[in-house]
């Protein structure tokens, strides 16, 4: 299980803009995410971490090269197919502004389920389970405004979990949090990775956050600096 590739980037090139203003982000990048991994993606600002994560999640498309998900190419999917694929396989957590302000925590978590044909009762059960797992049972009916940053982020994770996708993509999920809230969120992510076999790719600037991952990858100037190593501490935990 540990060795099956979930994502494979093959010779991926990506640039933004055109003409003189063109900025090349990646050039023939190879990258593999395996089943059950918890990857911390690090690197200086502007090096393309978010872009990479967005390509994994099918939000950005590569200019050249292929992206495979469990062996199947997703880079040639039509937008509608990609939407379905994403709803089915990928959960997203962002740095901030994760939640819809007009909805309660429970309603926010419910959103991905509205794209399914699950019954109301089943949806309710899943929302409760997800919120419970994130230690938020008490906050189900609060709107984001009435939640702390850490709680908001945990609601976002609950939403990423609720449709039970095998992959979580997190873009600086602790970027806005203090140390204690960070650790809570990271502990939960690690638990999801270890106990529920979620494959997680997490962008972070925080070396402390990286210690929760099973592998840390350093991006700079469009490529990985060193051959990505297994995180010794996290590996021991796994």
């Amino acid at each position: 299980m540990q060795n099956t590739a979930v994502f494979q980037l093959e010779q991926v090139s990506k640039s933004f803009g055109n003409g003189d203003e063109q900025v090349r982000i990646f050039r023939q990048l190879d990258f593999t995410v395996r089943d059950g991994e918890f990857i911390a993606l690090m690197g200086p600002s502007g090096c393309g971490k978010t872009t990479l994560l967005n390509m994994l999640g099918g939000i950005e498309m590569p200019d050249r090269g292929h992206i495979r998900f469990r062996g199947e190419r997703i880079d040639d999917y039509k937008p509608a197919t990609l939407n379905q694929w994403r709803a089915r396989h990928v959960g997203f957590v962002f740095q901030a502004f994760n939640l819809l302000p007009m909805f309660s925590a429970a309603r926010n978590v419910e959103l991905p389920l509205l794209l399914t044909s699950l019954s109301r009762a089943e949806r309710k059960r899943r929302i409760e389970t997800a919120l419970d797992l994130m230690g938020l049972s008490q906050c189900a009916n609060r709107t984001p405004k009435k939640l702390s940053g850490g709680q908001q982020q945990r609601v976002a994770i609950a939403r990423a979990l609720v449709s039970d996708t095998s992959v979580l993509l997190c873009d600086e999920p602790t970027g806005n949090l203090d140390k204690q809230s960070s650790n809570e969120v990271l502990t939960l992510l690690k638990m999801l990775n270890r106990d529920f076999n979620k494959t997680i790719v997490m962008v972070t600037h925080d070396p402390n956050a990286a210690t929760f991952a099973t592998r840390t990858c350093h991006l700079d100037k469009g490529s990985f600096i060193d051959e990505p190593q297994q995180n010794p501490t996290a590996a021991a935990c796994a």
Binding site: G57, I59, E60, P79, A80, N83, Q84, R86, A87, R88, F92, F94, F97, N98, L99, L100, P101, M102, F103, R107, L111, P112, L114, L115, T116, S117, L118, T129, A130, L133, R159, L161, S163, D164, S166, F196, N197
Partner: protein, 398 residues
Amino acid sequence: MQHHSSHSTLDRSLAGECLAMARMSLANIWLSKWSSVCIIGCIVLMVAVQATFLSMAEGFQSSMDSAGSDSIAVLVDKQSQSESSSQVSREQVELLRHAKVLGSNQLFSPEFRMSVSVLGREDNRKMNVALRGLTPAGFALREGYKIVQGRAPQAGRFELIVGDSLARRVKDTTLGSRLNLGGQDWTIVGHFQLQNAVFETEFWADLAMVQAGYKRENQYQSIRIGHLDASGLAQLRQFVQADSRLALDVLTEQELFREQIKDTTNVILYLGWPLAAILGIGALVGILNIMFISLEARFNSLRIIGLLGFSVTSIRFGIIFETVLLSCIGALLGIGVITLLLDGAAAWSVTGGIDSEVYNIKVGVSTLGQTLGFSLFLGLLGGLLPAWKGLNKESNHV
């Protein structure tokens, strides 16, 4: 939570997505109350104006449809196209009374009309209405004339009867009440109705008494002659034209009435519609502005919705649903307010001189349909544009 791998449950239905987006719009309407209130306000304002003039037009139209007879001739002096400013002399009246063109079965009604000032029943506001002096032939000429309370005025007495429509709006018009008009005390002895309530707007009394009350014994305003067929009317016209002493215009009652209300009709046509159109454009611009700002503020929410896999179609549906719902609320509110304020109320409009004509404002199906339709159209436009322009730039990935 352990991998249910429930892929089969993830069959998407656009209807389900749209429902979810509609729910989001509802929540958003509540969350961004002020934007919502502004949009509703825009529509209420527009609808209020539109419904006002439409209901006026509707009431007007329904009053108009049966107003005025075309077999009754009204003679007024050549200078004035309306009754109130017309002057007809006793000599002219006598010339016509004995004219050969008129058969013996025709009713001949010289009339004297004064503008009198009375107080509104509710607001105590001064208003000008007509006091008309009539001979028995004059009463008999009126279509559907009947006394519904009390009795007819007796000759030789300062007695008044009052039109039912007017009685409801003017103070001191119950039977037995006394009204001082032009320095003379009059007693209300009856209420009358006519076939068309539009004409129930006058005080009627015995001709000689009105002339005496105002010390104008030899003065008349108009002469009504009925009933005439087309050839009778033509003969009368010829006769009047042939005699230089009769510098009078011969109109049918219908023509006279149309002439009098022409101004009102024009106001409705030339002021009402453009006003509604301008307000409509204003409302649309308002809605568009608010929606673009509101979408800007929702940028992140919409992005997240897109990332979660909701289709652009459903997101657009949500936006349009929001504006259409808001304009629907606005329209109903606007119509509701107008109905409360105006339905059944009498519109007083100054026509043909200084007298007020009355007709009932009617908030009917036509008014309702047109305003609701117009508002929904604006709501649709106000949603469509932002839904397309607002989403395009940010959702190239969805």
